[in-house]
Symmetry: C2
Subunit: 385 residues, 2 copies
Amino acid sequence: MTDVAIVGASMTDFGKREGEWIRDLLAEAGENCLDDAGVAPHELDHLYVSNMASGEFEGQAGVPNMLAHDLAAIPAYTQRVDQTSSSGGSGVYAAWQSVASGASDMTLLVGGEKMTHRTTAEATDVIASLTHPVEYKHGVTLPSFAGMTARLYLDQYDAPRESLAKVAVKNHKNGVDNPHAQFRKEIDVETALESPVVADPLRLYDFCPITDGSAALLFCSVEEAEERGEPYVRVAGIGGATDTHVVHERADPTTMGGVVESSEQAYAMADRGPEDVDVAEVHDMFTILEFLQCEGLGFFEQGEAWKAVEEGVTDRDGELPINTSGGLKSKGHPLGASGVAQVYELVMQLRGEAGARQVDCEVGLACNVGGFGNCVTTTVLEAER
Amino acid sequence: MTDVAIVGASMTDFGKREGEWIRDLLAEAGENCLDDAGVAPHELDHLYVSNMASGEFEGQAGVPNMLAHDLAAIPAYTQRVDQTSSSGGSGVYAAWQSVASGASDMTLLVGGEKMTHRTTAEATDVIASLTHPVEYKHGVTLPSFAGMTARLYLDQYDAPRESLAKVAVKNHKNGVDNPHAQFRKEIDVETALESPVVADPLRLYDFCPITDGSAALLFCSVEEAEERGEPYVRVAGIGGATDTHVVHERADPTTMGGVVESSEQAYAMADRGPEDVDVAEVHDMFTILEFLQCEGLGFFEQGEAWKAVEEGVTDRDGELPINTSGGLKSKGHPLGASGVAQVYELVMQLRGEAGARQVDCEVGLACNVGGFGNCVTTTVLEAER
C-alpha cells in the first residue's frame, strides 16, 4: 500500500452562487487547488468528482468529463463518486485508493453541488429520495429523523435543549472567521431557541442551509510529497462503513454504527486513537449529529457530548476544537463538496494556514455522514512540516 | 499493489423488466454473484454500485445503501460509481482499486440500470445530457455523433455500408446463444440495411436498444483466490482515460483517443499486447463503435477493422472473436450494467463456462466507452484454472 499525501487544497466561497452552475464551481475549486500545489493539469492521472445530484438539480450529466475539459486535464481518467450527503468523504476514499493502489501518481478530487436555484422543498425532496422507501412513503425526510433522534437523545441522556442550541452558537462563532462560509454572523442561544420550529424539538438554527459550493484536494504518494519539499498532510488512516438503511431498525438511534465502524478502521490504520486527535470536522448537518458523531468517534462517552459542549471543550480554544471551519451549520452544505471541504479545513489547520481560526494541532479527523448515518467515511490526517 | 482476482460473476436477464425497479435488478445480480462464489454477504468489506441515473430515471437516490440493506451486507462500505455509459467499466476500476490498495479484502461490484419505463426519447435525452453544452444545445445526441462518424469512416477508409450491417448480423447471431440477451434472433444484412434511418447513414439495426438489467462481479486478492482452490480470473491489466469532451475538437473523430490511451495502460500493466488477446468484448452501442475500438485497441490497423468483419475474423469461430455475448447490440445496454456484463462474459469464457458461446481462450479484453469515447476503461483478464 503506497502511503498517501495531500499536497494541494482549495475551496470556493460557499453560499448562493447566482448565475453560476456546477461546472463553474468545480472548475474554480479545481484550478485553485492545482495552483495551490503548483501542479499542472497534464500531470494528473486521475480526476474524481464528488457530486450527488447534478442530474436531478440541473439536468446535467457527465460532469467529470466536463471538468477534465475545463481544466485541460484530458486524457486524465475521470469518474463521479456519489454517496449522497457523504459524496465528498467517499471521494476522499476513492482518491486515496487511486494513489494507494498505484493506479495514479497524481489524483485531483473536486467535490461540488449547485442547489440554491431549486426551492428548499425541492432540494429536500431530492435529498429525501435517498431514504428507504418504507420510510420515504410515510413522508420522512432527513430533518424529521433529526427531530425524532434529538428528542430521544435529550430524554435518554437528560440533556438540556439549550445544549443543542450551543452547538449552533459555537459553529456560527467559528464561521465568522471563515472567509468562505455562507453565514458569517454570530448568533446567541436565545435566537436559536426562538427560531421557527422545523422538526420538533429542532428549530431553524439546528439545521444547515441549502448551499452552492465546491472544494478540491490533490493527492500523491508521500514519497512524491517529500521530494517536493513543501509542507504536506499525510492520510494516516481512512475507513468507511454503512449503518442500517432503514433508520427505525437501529437498536438505539442515538448510536451511529457507521461512525463507530469507519472510525475504528481509520484509527487502526493510523495506529491512533480518539485521544490523539487535536482538531476535528464532523458532519453537523443537524446540531444533534455533532453530539452523536463526537460520541461515535470516541471523543466523549455515550450521552456525554452535550456536557463537553456546555463546558466549552469543543470551542476553538477548548481541549478538542470541533468544526473550526464553522461546520456545515454556518459554512453551508453543498452535498458533494462538504466532505472535501472538511478535509480542506484540516489541511489548512495542519499546515498552520488557518488564519484567525488556527488552533494548535498535529492530528486532525474528518467524519462525513451520508443520509442519516446510512454510510460514513472517517479520515485521520497528520501534519508533515 | 495487491494482485486482484475475480471469483464470482452473474448477470440478470437483460430486456424489459416490467414491474421491477433498479433495486430489484441490483439485488438479483448481487445475490447470484455471491452464490456463484459461495461467499456470504457479511464477508464483504466494500460494495460498489455502477449506475448512471437512478435519480433521473426513477427519482431514487441512495441505491448503494439500499443494496447493502437488501443483501444484508451492512456494515460494508458502499458507494455509487458513475461514468455515464461506461459506469460499469469504471466500477470494475474502482473495485480493482479497493482490493489493490488493501482497503478491502472482498469487494462486490453490482452494475445496473432501469430504463424501459421511460420513452426512448426521454432516455435518449437523459443520456444526451452528458454531452458538452456547446454540442447539446445544437440538438446533438449520441446517435447523431455516430451517424456523422460512420459517414466519415466509410468515406475515409473506402469501407462499404454493408460492413456496418455485418457487425449487427454477427452480434445478433452471437446473442442467440446468450440466455440473458434482450434479442435472441438472427438478422440478415438486408434486414439491417432496410431498417428505418435513425442518423444517416445509420439505421435501426446499427443501434443498441434501451434496456433494463444488472450484472455483478466479486473481487479479492489473487492470494485469497488461490486459497479458495476454485478456477478464477486474474485482472492482469486495467486502465482508464478521457478523450476530448467536445467531440468536434478531435483531430480525427475516427480515432478514439481514450481507447488508445486506456488500452496502452492496461497492456503495460499486464505485460501483454493486442496480439495476446483471444477474445474481446467491445462497446458496440453503435455498430461503428466496434470498428473504432477494434482499431484503437490495436487489433487491426486504422481503417481496416471493417475488412476483418467482412472476412469473418471477429466471428465466434474466427481468429479473434469479438462480442461473443451478443454485444450491446443484441444483449442490450442498461448503462451502468454494460461494462460489468462485458467482464461477466469474459469470466464465463475464461472459466470455460460459456456454453454454446464458448471459444478457446486464455486472455480476454473488455473495452467500455462512456459518452462518445469521452471516457474509456480497458481491462485485460487472464484465466487461472
